[in-house]
Amino acid sequence: MAIAEQQTPPQVAQGSSDKSWHGIVLQTLKRNEISLIPYVPDRVLTPLIKNLHADPYFTTFATAREEEAVGIVSGAWMGGRKAAVLMQTSGFATLANVLASLAVPYQIPLIMFVSERGTLGEFNYGQSLVCRTMRPVLDSLALEHHTITRLDELEFIADRSIKQAVTTQAPVALILNPLLTGGKTFDK
């Protein structure tokens, strides 16, 4: 995609990892000066989390709950530092209260990366059910969200969505679909 190529950062690519989904996410975060990354871990997110920890540009750390991470990101934004939260679908399901009482009414550009579980080969019935609550919650608050399925669209969607969140002071959820990440399957 031409636009994506024009926006490729000047940093030298680290092997093939920069063309992986997690390499693109990391570079897009950096290009948008998002340096604080609280997360609740997820198997699929592991390579991204590992590379964020390894890169001194980022302050990357685990929180006990996803809403705690949303609080941290909100405080950081008000203090002038950009941040993003990483989580799994089931973690998003714990966020309705903090979205409706903090991020939305205070107009916080809360950037969420959600690793999507519960679809396309889910083996845990509970995960498949909790996944079905995610988009209705996002839609009920009229929150911007995109489900990313293709590697060639990832940079465009992530970069544009982050910029839109910041300039419109509104949350965004970027849902990383198994078609993009490979997801988690029973034999893994």
Partner: protein
């Protein structure tokens, strides 16, 4: 430390004593309900942030501010009931060790604002022991008002995060924060020097 050795203080009085000590545009995050009502009543400052929901997130929000502005001291005022909602945040803060974050817990053992029901922790748990066990070594009960002020002074020059627990009475908050979240957030950002007004 045993809470039986501590004086029962008043939230508004303790909050006013804290605010009177702030001379360097320190940030103060007030938790949901009475903690931010009394922060408001103690006199609005541009560096105050008032929560209107998201119970339990005063410390995480303050942590975010502290990580964004490491040269500014950041205080957070939280109730015991709110803290019980988010005990994991204490370990997150202990792991990150921000030396500019000072947490104050107003402990009356009740959900005052909803009808003064006792919290599950009221007669069985010790907030300072929980904080210490979560990795926050510098956690202390304030014995009385003078001790509270001394602990605040100590915390201002501490080399790691501090937690001060205050046993308080069952009185409601004195004021009522203006519930205007966008203006609260915008004024706070002005107060922190992040933005200028239009």
């Amino acid at each position: 430390m045993n809470t039986r050795n501590t004086k029962v203080m008043n939230r508004f009085d303790v909050t006013s004593r804290l605010i009177a000590k702030l001379k360097h545009q320190e940030a103060v995050v007030g938790g949901i309900g009475n903690t931010n009502f009394d922060l408001w009543a103690a006199g609005h400052r541009p560096q105050n942030f008032y929560m209107l929901g998201s119970m339990g997130l005063a410390f995480p929000i303050a942590l975010g501010v502290a990580l964004a502005q490491p040269d500014r001291r950041v205080f957070a005022l939280e109730g015991d009931g709110s803290l019980l909602m988010q005990l994991g945040a204490l370990s997150t803060i202990a792991a990150l060790k921000p030396n500019n974050l000072i947490m104050i817990v107003m402990d009356n053992g009740i959900y005052q604002i909803t009808g003064a029901q006792p919290t599950p922790a009221a007669n069985v748990a010790d907030i300072v022991a929980i904080a210490t066990g979560s990795g926050l070594a510098n956690s202390t009960w304030a014995a009385d008002e003078e001790d509270f002020e001394r602990l605040v002074d100590e915390a201002m020059s501490a080399s790691g995060p501090s937690l001060i627990a205050v046993r308080i009475d069952d009185k409601p908050g004195v004021g009522a924060t203006r519930r205007d979240p966008v203006q609260i957030r915008e004024r706070f950002m002005h107060g922190l020097g992040v933005r200028q007004p239009l």
